[in-house]
Amino acid sequence: TSNMKLILIFSALFGASLCLETFVGHQVLRIKTKNEEEVKKLQLLESLEHLELDFWVNPSSPALPVDVRIPASNVQAVKAFLESCGIRYSILIEDLQVVLDKEKQDMAESQQRERSGNSFNYGTYHSLDSIYAELDHLASEYSNIVSKLQIGESYEKRPLYVLKFSTGGSNRPAIWLDAGIHSREWVTQASAIWIAKKIASDYGTDPSVTSLLNKMDVFLLTVSNPDGYVFTHTTNRMWRKTRSKNQGSLCVGVDPNRNWDAGFGGPGASSNPCSDSYRGPSANSEVEVKSVVNFIQNHGNIRAFLTLHSYSQLLMYPYGYKCTEPADYAELDALGKAAASSIRSLYDTAFTVGSICTTIYQASGGSIDWSYDNGIKYSFAFELRDTGRYGFVLPASQIIPTAEETWLGLKTIMEHVRDN
């Protein structure tokens, strides 16, 4: 009988099994049983204590997979047994010690970060308070080049914080970067804070960032719409607009990217307060928008206006409110394509390049149309990952890869701005 076979095979190994402290060569198998008979065979296996099998999921029913850790010396024998009985399995972990070593390393690094005061996990989504705390932390850890400014307050009186990256000078030419104007686009706020860390920590070590900050300043608004962002955490994950009250309507909020003074009131925005693309009662009616407009105009020396959205994987330049080409079409298109190429170089993520109107849809009152028509030639809007599989609810595991590739695209644009 096969039971006899089992006992014969394994008793031969009994004498050879060692008691090891480490898990070198231990494998974790996932066994998929087809019927009760196979479950019973596994339960018999479980009873052979000298095999030192460690069932992470015990055999109980044919519907559930069985996960088991097998000491290195018994791996081949257990597999041989399973195969001879026609029981299907797959290898979940090839070498458990490798996994454990990596985990130890990760924890040490994490502890190192905690000791240096930074335990912010860039690979997960954070509350507004947590992001704001990290802004303070970055401004303090990199105080030689990073400072935090408040450019205004949201409708519900939350501060609008911008990080300024500067190595000095007075009113140097600068690059503007914002994220989260549409609150449900969580990967943008998450990427922005990663990018903040990246810029700060790369100064002095990365030649490109170093030469950029030696000539220009960078202003980064990580959460452009804090009221909306909080609302996506507390009440409605899919909220897009601001949270301003609309006179004469029960519906709340204005689409902040239809509220800029660029083709305002034209096609591609709604006049209905209940719509997710409601333009608002007038251009700049939203304090979140007006605060940025004031900042940019008062600064007077902004050379690039870059804004992050999700999703669709697009890299766009003006115009959205009309379908005619901007005067700098050729340069913007070439630069856009170069940036998309940089993005693709990392994880093969493909971005489509073009004007807003021809690439996505006609949309009036958009921020990069305003910035372009106000003399900021290098105006680009990014739509980050993905293309619809998860859409707004992009898994946190994709935050850092998204931030990394987006940063390469931004860098390409910034380098061009620096050199022109």
Partner: protein, 175 residues
């Protein structure tokens, strides 16, 4: 191409990629005919070159597991706010994708671009026959208007009989 008296017709050549097995692709050609007035769903004809992966084993596992549940399966917010889908809910998520494809097709015009944004709620409805039945409330994201539209759909499924949407209706949006 505009067909006089009927509507615009599009010829498409595309590559389909298996979301679960990224290296598995098939070529597809399709013709989509929109009807003037947008009151009927567009006509779609397509041909596929090559074979789609066989999913019998996974289908049967999900079918058997669900049929044998004592309490009806329920779920909400799939994926959750952070993009997570638990392994037990993954088949329910995939089923919603297929079924929402039907709803999207029935409601598409040249000026819409729908994606399934999230499953708000799902509840299994026990049946005495062999089919599995699920009552879904899904959120559809319409790209052009940027609206999130709640939609109810009743989905029937069986490993050999495929997916059927027996009922569906657009739901009112909350203010």
């Amino acid at each position: 191409q505009d067909i006089d008296g009927v509507g615009p017709k599009y010829h498409l050549e595309l590559v389909l990629e298996d979301v679960l097995h990224k290296d598995s692709t098939v070529n597809c050609t399709a013709e989509v005919l929109y009807h003037l007035g947008n009151t009927t769903a567009p006509d779609v004809q397509f041909t596929i070159e090559g074979e789609v992966k066989n999913t019998d084993e996974a289908d049967n596992m999900f079918y058997n597991r669900t049929k044998s549940l004592e309490k009806e399966l329920v779920g909400e917010n799939i994926p959750d706010s952070h993009g997570n889908v638990s392994p037990e809910m993954e088949p329910v998520h995939l089923l919603a994708w297929v079924a929402s494809g039907y709803v999207i097709w029935q409601n598409s015009t040249e000026n819409t671009n729908f994606q399934l944004a999230q499953i708000k709620r799902v509840k299994q409805v026990k049946r005495s026959d062999e089919h599995l039945e699920f009552d879904y409330t899904i959120l559809l994201h319409e790209m052009v208007s940027q609206e999130i539209i709640p939609w109810q759909m009743t989905v029937l499924w069986h490993p050999q009989h495929g997916v059927q949407v027996t009922q569906d209706s657009r739901q009112p949006k909350h203010a």
